[in-house]
Amino acid sequence: MKMVITGHTWGIGKSLYNSFKSAEWEVVGLSRSNGYDIDKDFERVVEAATGADLFINNAYRDQQQTKLVNALKNKVTKMIVMGSVSRLYPELIHTDYVYDKQALAEACRLISIDPNGIDLLHLDLSFIEGQDPDPNKPTDFISDYNIQYEEIISAIDFWMSNPKIRQMEFRWKLTPFVYNQLKQAFPTFDSSRIQYESKN
């Protein structure tokens, strides 16, 4: 069985890469470090993932995740998509990141109403361990909890071990602490969309 993952060199991507590898899957990691930038090398990424038994659509960059869903929805057997719970709070967070994750969720929803849609697991993640806030970024703050990698892996295990569930979504919650921090970081009166800094 072959698994292909984007963004496999750090964070949850690295953890999943290692987890599948130790489970004796044939694992292919695609990252900028090995020449697979999901933006600049999009066609190469699609080519490398085509035919995979499982594609983990992990790396974020603008709308490239959504483009990968659409490009690969008929070319892989099943797909796991890393979304964000922030998409549910556009009133708090006016960033391109949120709108990109909304578009991603909609692409996943459309697959679930397609009778021929592939098996798909959509994970709306919240704060994850290993994401240290940048002190120079006013919109970064320390969360009062962080999802552990094991929690995400066990959600994936749940889906993989219940093959009758073809399409599924897990959504993590924002704690009241995080919600209030976001409210302070992104005042709702500010209608201008803040540029997501990682794009620049």
Binding site: K78, D119, E151, S154, R166, M168, E169, R171, K173
Partner: protein
């Protein structure tokens, strides 16, 4: 001993959940038509808000008075074109209320009609959530013949 309250236990998913928790050795309180649910459920470690029709009232009245709550939602809210406007509206309202409460002790299970009839999958999801309580929505969008 875990004290579990469940609404709508005479058939279907509610009955399967009742049997599951009884077999696990829990103290299970079954609430059916005519039960004083609010007073009877106060103090439950786990309350399963299963029966359609009174879910929002029970959510509002009990979320602060039970340990954890599992709310049975529906995937119909993801598909607003489905011709069940009243049902869809009520399930959407329920889902929005869970989101607004943002409580660390509540999970919404969004079930399809197939999931309602496959209680083991729902039981597996509940057991997952009890181990991973920072998940607040688990949605079963499509269940069927596996491609895998």
């Amino acid at each position: 001993m875990l004290k579990v309250g469940i609404t709508g236990t005479t058939r279907g998913l509610g009955k399967a959940l009742h049997d599951h928790f009884v077999n696990k050795g829990c103290w299970v309180i079954a609430f059916n038509r005519g039960s004083d649910i609010v007073n009877g459920a106060i103090g439950c470690d786990l309350f399963i808000n299963n029966t359609y029709g009174m879910q929002i009232d029970l959510l509002n009245q009990l979320y602060a008075n039970v340990g954890k709550m599992i709310v049975m939602g529906s995937i119909v809210t993801d598909f607003p074109d489905v011709e069940m406007p009243e049902y869809t509206d009520r399930k959407s309202e329920l889902e929005q209320r869970v989101l607004d409460l943002n409580s660390p002790n509540i999970v919404l299970l969004k079930l399809s009609s197939t999931a309602y009839n496959d209680s083991q999958i729902v039981i597996n999801a509940i057991e997952y959530w009890l181990e991973n309580p920072l998940v607040n929505v688990i949605s079963f969008r499509a269940i069927g013949a596996p491609n895998r």
